[in-house]
Symmetry: C2
């Protein structure tokens, strides 16, 4: 007798989960008929009566399809991966959430992982996603100097970038119009009367940092002003913001003569800026106007409420998910490069500069 074979025809009692074969037996049809009857797409190939009988048997037995078995055969797991640098950074949850909701409505499950901005870890996670045969991948962690995109291409995983772009990438991307956004901040400050404006830039190699920096310089040029000091932060963190702000103030000693307003590349950096100001007995909005970027949750509640550029978090997640699904459905379709338009939100951290006598 062949190995592993159970006693023939010892009808498996309701042990464990019902399979399509159990349903077939219960409904008195062949497993393939069950498959066709239960799959909406092939439902039409089957007689109405049979379909009903099968459906009835299926939910009497509490049958649930195995995504593993189906996926193995079809090479589709109905699973989408999302890679973020760090879920704790408040700009990501709204994005992930919006994407997950849309995907769930389309019958997809969502795998989420944090890269910690570590390229090695990112590659490991992409490989793991590939092992799990994700149908597509959303990456919010793109940065120069990684092989993430090549890796996805090698595995044949449709990929959409979120929030950050990559220079020569041929993948779809959903990002903010960062240049325009930062321009809004600059215009606002200029309109208030500021003439010497500094920039706290984001980490090197990240598209948002590059675009915002360039947008900053460009906007100043357009306004006919010379740029104030520019300092790079090591990362988009509160701590990095503190460090960068310290060096900004340490340079030519901080006087009203140096700069009266600061455009930061990101809200998180502003938290560090606030820390430094507070430690020196200075107040944002009063002694120095400060703008952020992202309008992340709760910056309307900090003291003073932060003037910032509001991005469309949820739309970003939604559009990215849609682009990805479109690409999965029609792999030959051209890639999309969606640029979402941000808007200025004015709060108390920006004010007209003190009159100089």
């Amino acid at each position: 007798m062949p190995p592993n074979r159970p006693i023939p025809d010892a009808a498996p009692p309701p042990a464990g989960r019902a399979t399509i074969a159990d349903v077939a037996r219960a409904a008195g049809v062949h497993a393939s008929t069950v498959s066709r009857a239960l799959n909406p797409a092939t439902r039409g190939m089957v007689t109405e009566a049979v379909a009903l009988r099968v459906a009835e048997a299926a939910d009497r037995l509490g049958w649930r399809p195995s995504a593993l078995a189906a996926g193995l055969r079809t090479r589709k797991s109905r699973t989408i991966g999302i890679l973020v640098p760090d879920l704790v950074n408040p700009i990501f949850p709204p994005i992930v959430r919006a994407a997950e909701s849309l995907l769930a409505a389309q019958g997809y499950a969502t795998l989420v992982a944090n890269t910690d901005n570590d390229p090695a870890r990112e590659e490991m996670l992409i490989s793991r996603m590939a092992e799990h045969v994700v149908d597509g991948l959303m990456m919010a962690s793109a940065a120069e100097g990684t092989h993430a995109i090549e890796l996805c291409a090698r595995f044949g995983i449709p990929t959409v970038l979120i929030n950050r772009r990559l220079p020569g990438a041929t993948t779809s991307a959903v990002t903010n119009d960062d240049r325009h956004g930062i321009g809004l901040a600059v215009s606002h400050l200029v309109a208030l009367g500021h003439r010497r404006i500094a920039h706290l830039a984001g980490p090197r190699g990240v598209s948002t940092a590059i675009d915002r920096r360039e947008g900053f310089l460009e906007a100043l040029r357009a306004a006919g002003l010379d740029p104030g000091p520019v300092v790079d932060a090591a990362g988009y963190t509160r701590a990095a913001g503190r460090v960068a702000m310290e060096t900004l103030l340490a340079g030519p000693s901080f006087t009203a003569a140096s700069f009266t307003a600061l455009v930061a590349a990101n809200d998180m950096l502003c938290l560090g800026v606030y820390d430094v100001l507070r430690s020196r007995g200075l107040r944002a909005g009063v002694d120095l106007s400060v703008t952020g970027f992202n309008d992340m949750p709760f910056v309307d509640l900090i003291d003073p409420p932060l003037t910032t550029i509001r991005i469309q978090h949820a739309a970003m997640g939604r559009e990215a998910a849609e682009a990805l699904l479109a690409e999965i459905a029609e792999p030959a379709a051209p890639r999309r490069d969606t640029r979402l338009v941000p808007e200025l939100v004015i709060r108390a951290s920006t004010r007209a500069p003190r009159q100089e006598h």
Copy 2:
């Protein structure tokens, strides 16, 4: 000739992804040997030389195991599901992140989904997780009146509750010691000299709300004080906090005689409390002392910085993941009920009550 059969021995060129059979061919061994050579657990069953040859062939071909195929056979997907009410609520990202990191280190992928506190949606998501054959489930969305736990049991999915418990549940749970935590807040206020303390309670049916409410009453009793007014919020949201705060103030008209301090069941509710106070020209900390719960990110930055109970977000995610893995490894082991100890964080929203003349 049987259908579907490719031309015999037409060696499939490197089309698509390499399978274990491709590796076997390249290494000149049988597929089963490849499987044994590449699986650390069975690696010992194979000659060193063969193992090396196989490993070499495997990464020359860029082979990656298919989690689908392996999972189908072994009935383990190496995937864990996490259900949260709403990822945008800032207390969840740290929990999810900590869990994901630990799970990733153990080779698991993490499926995340939002229930929106909607029981129907929750059941749908659990079913979907079951279809994807998750090895275990972490639920932060437990509430009375749902069949979530029964559903998991029916599907045979090991489950661990996070943050919220369920009355008679037999599953493991990792929660905060809510009674103790709220007691810390009450003691602090009492020590400051407050005698009339109100409570803004959480939504009905949620263990955190129940425990904190009882803890509040108990702590007051222990201090020999009568409880002030108690109002339930409809949910743990800023808006619900606003509404509840309005009714609290609307009752016996708000005077110094009514209450001088407010213990809220949750930080998010405090944001609503702040809104109402601000709209009435009152200030937290000055006109009314306010405490929150969770120490969610950025409440140290709001105005005034919130006195609150700090919970161990990351530890919660980690412990829950560990408990789940332990349960998967040893299904017969007794369930764990872990209670994490919170601590009081004093900031500017609490102060001694104004002296009454």
